[in-house]
């Protein structure tokens, strides 16, 4: 019983992190068909922002306030990653619309450069971020299983981001414009929507969420220049499995991969578990080639 509860909780925890990373990806991928391989490096930027905020608090603030640095770090990582995303979109991505595979290669190059720059600034070894005091410990649930506060906090953070994304995409004016561009770019442009601006803002929001994901990852372990690369392919698999362009799909994709990953790794070994997950994904795509929830479209090539 304990084991089942523990594995379920672990699965949910892994899924929530995957979801947070894939949220940003599904937005940029779904709207613009841009494969942003630098997404992992935006995560890294978020993580290092949290690190810098922590260091600033360490040196300039009274130590009694130190515990609150994390509350500031979350919006800070969002904003910094947002600005990075905006700059990236304006300077590079906008030349690559309609060339998805090229965008993949170019952004991979950007990611490589960002990693090297981070290595030059912060050094190649991993740095640790001290989690605030109030996140240590955990809740003891039925059967003596401990749910760490950190994991619960990440779960809550993901939930907040999800709600924010939902409200933004489905309930706000700019979200409506975004969906319009997504469904039919030419028609939206004809109706007076500046697709240029929608693209830039959407990409920046996707990047900002990656920043938050990076901030959350600092709670789990040390951070280094290549922190993003561990998660990026899994996150892409989430998007592929869930289908592009719908939040629901991303959520199901993340939970599908996160849960099965945890369970397979529990039943077999870590490396075999990964193989099994991959086989399951490929098998699933045989049944639904465009993912769990696909946008309906009448166009032939999309």
């Amino acid at each position: 019983m304990d084991v089942v509860v523990l594995q379920l909780f672990n699965g949910i925890s892994v899924s929530s992190i995957l979801l947070l990373i894939a949220l940003g990806l599904s937005v940029t991928f779904g709207l613009m068909k841009v494969i942003n391989m630098a997404h992992g490096e935006l995560i890294m930027i978020g993580a290092y922002t949290a690190y810098v905020v922590q260091n600033l608090f360490n040196s300039y603030m009274p130590s009694s306030l130190f515990g609150w640095y994390f509350v500031l770090a979350i919006p800070a990582s969002f904003i910094i990653a947002f600005v990075f995303g905006l700059v990236l979109e304006m300077s590079l991505i906008r030349f690559l619309y309609g060339r998805p595979l090229d965008s993949l290669l170019a952004t991979w190059g950007v990611g490589l450069m960002l990693q090297q720059i981070a290595r030059s600034i912060f050094g190649a070894p991993n740095v640790g971020v001290t989690s605030p005091e109030w996140l240590n410990g955990g809740v003891t649930a039925l059967g003596g299983v401990v749910f760490p506060y950190k994991r619960l906090f990440i779960l809550g953070l993901v939930l907040v981001c999800l709600i924010f994304m939902y409200v933004y995409i489905y309930r706000s004016h700019s979200g409506r414009r975004m969906r319009a561009v997504m469904q039919n770019r030419e028609m939206a442009a004809c109706l007076g929507i500046s697709t240029r601006r929608v693209d830039a803002v959407t990409f920046a929001i996707g990047s900002g969420i990656a920043g938050i994901a990076g901030c959350a990852l600092t709670l789990i372990g040390p951070i280094g220049p290549s922190i993003g690369t561990y998660y990026i392919v899994d996150a892409f698999m989430v998007v592929v499995l869930g289908g592009v362009g719908k939040l629901v799909g991303t959520v199901f994709g993340a939970f599908g991969i996160g849960m099965s990953n945890t369970l397979f790794e529990y039943w077999t070994t870590a490396s075999l578990g990964k193989v099994l997950v991959f086989l399951c994904i490929v098998a699933f795509l045989q049944w639904k080639p465009s993912g769990l929830v696909a946008m309906r479209s009448r166009s032939l090539d999309n």
């Binding site: 993949l104 490589l112 450069m113 290595r119 870590a270 075999l272 795509l285």
Partner: protein, 363 residues
């Protein structure tokens, strides 16, 4: 008129290719043993680039999984060499991991014939299976690319995880002899170099034959408009699968040669970064031109080895910037640059149109 220009152009091309082949065969006369070994390694890479060009440049399918195929070929050769070196006993790393008997799938690799066949057929078979489950369902473009990338990740984790059977992160190394000749001796190295050049020329001719054939025409048609090809009555999936399998087989061959030159194969040589670098060779040289792929592989690797010796950090930055510049500004790569230069020189001639207009940048 058209025919005559075409044939003279063809003659020129043939002359250039022949000259290049002669240069390659004469390289041992001028190069030191170290440089020769390096060049041999780059030429092995060029074989991967040829295969990758076939699938990316000509068919429009971007595979980021060629590191796996390269690695499978490499491991097949390394397993044979390892068994040869251990002389009937258990390879050392298995001993350390506590195995007492040779695993069943290692046993056939004692014969060189099986190892050679496996080095080509295993990657091709894997590609065929992956192609079957994806292309048949019209999973293509970006989705396919991401799947190949996942294939790389799981293969690397699998190879690292099953340490007792694969040597883990260290890979398989520590072999000495091939057919009784020492691998370390300069004479053997020279012979291996000649073998590599011969295989490269063979691979080039094979790819050229494929590209010029009707099969190659269908491949290009798929690249430029898959649905139209389908509507005409072809089944693109079969063409894509076969092209992908040939491409993977070539990568396997390259992996085998690589092991002979370098003396080690490990999971880090088939990871994400090498797989993407392989794509860059093709992009730099010019996708959709076979000569460009070879040129790109040799050029970029030479640049890498001279550059990264003195500035290891700069190299990564440079590599990243190269990706951005080539993809955004030079989608046709060095070959495209050459083509537009030529077009600039003799502007207005019809050959200009032929040189530039033929190739759409593959998506």
């Amino acid at each position: 008129m058209l025919l005559r220009t075409l044939s003279s152009r063809r003659l020129w091309l043939l002359a250039i290719y022949a000259a290049l082949a002669v240069v390659l065969f004469c390289a041992p006369l001028v190069l030191s043993d170290f440089r020769l070994n390096l060049l041999a390694k780059f030429l092995a890479y060029a074989i991967v680039a040829l295969g990758l060009d076939l699938i990316w440049g000509y068919t429009g399918i971007l595979s980021l999984g060629h590191g796996v195929f390269f690695g499978l070929g490499g491991y097949a050769m390394a397993m044979y060499l390892k068994l040869e070196a251990s002389g009937g006993k258990l390879p050392d790393f298995m001993d350390w991991s506590g195995l007492t008997a040779l695993p069943w799938f290692w046993k056939p690799f004692g014969s060189i014939g099986f190892a050679l066949a496996a080095g080509i057929l295993l990657p091709a078979l894997l590609a065929l299976v992956l192609g079957y489950v994806t292309f048949r369902n019209r999973i293509r473009g970006v989705y396919f690319t991401i799947l190949t990338q996942a294939l790389v990740i799981i293969t690397v984790t699998l190879f690292v995880g099953q340490q007792a059977y694969t040597g883990g992160t260290n890979g398989v190394t520590g072999y000495s002899k091939l057919f009784g000749y020492s691998l370390a001796s300069p004479d053997t190295k020279r012979w291996l170099y000649f073998v590599t050049v011969a295989v490269l020329i063979g691979a080039f001719l094979l790819c050229r034959f494929i590209v010029k054939s009707r099969f190659g025409k269908v491949l290009r048609a798929i690249r430029d408009g898959e649905n139209r090809v389908r509507f005409i009555g072809y089944n693109p999936a079969i063409y894509q699968m076969v092209a992908f399998a040939i491409s993977a087989g070539l990568a396997g061959v390259a992996g085998m040669l690589f092991v002979l030159h370098v003396g080690i194969i490990s999971p880090s040589m088939m990871g994400i970064v090498p797989s993407i670098e392989m794509v860059l060779w093709v992009a730099i040289g010019g996708r959709g031109t076979l000569g460009g792929a070879v040129l790109g592989a040799v050029l970029l690797n030479s640049a890498k080895s001279t550059f990264s010796e003195s500035y290891p950090e700069m190299w990564t930055l440079f590599l990243g910037a190269l990706f951005v510049v080539v993809v955004v500004f030079l989608p046709k790569g060095a070959a495209g640059l050459f083509g537009s230069l030529k077009g600039f020189v003799r502007r207005g001639k019809e050959s200009d149109e032929r040189a530039n207009g033929v190739r759409n940048p593959a998506v």
